[in-house]
């Protein structure tokens, strides 16, 4: 089965992982913003942004939109690297945890690995299509 689409095979697993993160990141940020937005507005709005990025990436992957997927996954990679570095350098910038804090260590480092998996899969997918 060398079908490259997200309707089959490994692509379905990639979509499943993105779906889990879309759900957990956006649910967490909704909760944070609804209950304690004033405590750490920077961290919580970042959580919300991360949630939106995962939702769009999931949608793009599930509906086979490689350009949109590439854009969101690249943004996700930059996000996790930037926020990961900032939290390590100066923890006071983010008083509360986000998905991307400490390179996603609170989520088993999956947020750090996931964009690479997504990009590798997109790359393999596009070579298949040609």
């Amino acid at each position: 089965m060398a079908d490259p689409g997200t309707q089959h095979g490994f692509g379905r697993v990639v979509v499943a992982i993105y779906a889990v993160f879309a759900l957990s990141a956006s649910a967490r940020s909704l909760y944070q913003l609804a209950t304690k937005a004033a405590e750490a507005p920077m961290a919580y709005s970042l959580s919300a942004l991360a949630g939106i990025v995962y939702v769009v990436a999931t949608f793009a992957l599930a509906t086979n939109r490689p350009k949109l997927a590439l854009g969101t996954i690249a943004f996700e990679l930059v996000g996790v690297l930037t926020v990961g570095t900032l939290t390590v350098v100066d923890a006071s910038l983010f008083p509360d945890q986000t998905v991307w804090s400490d390179f996603g260590s609170g989520y088993g480092l999956v947020p750090l690995v996931l964009p690479f998996v997504g990009l590798a899969w997109l790359r393999r997918n596009s070579t298949h299509a040609r």
Partner: protein, 118 residues
Amino acid sequence: MINQIAYTVFWLSAVVALVAAWMTIRHTQFNDAMFYAVSAVEVGTLALLGTGIAGVVTTDRHVAGTLLISYLVTLVLVPPVTILWGVAEKSRWGTGVVLIGMWTVAVMSIRVLQVWHG
């Protein structure tokens, strides 16, 4: 009570995740045994939802109730989605989806305990 059920759900889903990982490596498709195993996890998450709601209502401690119940409801939804997706995928990645789903349940059941104990 919540402790025992959450740990049972954790171990059960962790074991099913490991079996699913093994099946993915061995190119095994989603089968009946996998269906019953994920269904058993679903029964566990339902029990956890019940005791969780009862716990939030009856406890004297301050517990983040909304957060806890949103976790519990999500937990109940994961196994059915896992089964639907696993059955629909006619390759080894059907069990790959089960691995992701059960891993999610395992992690979330531990998060439930963290939220419950504050």
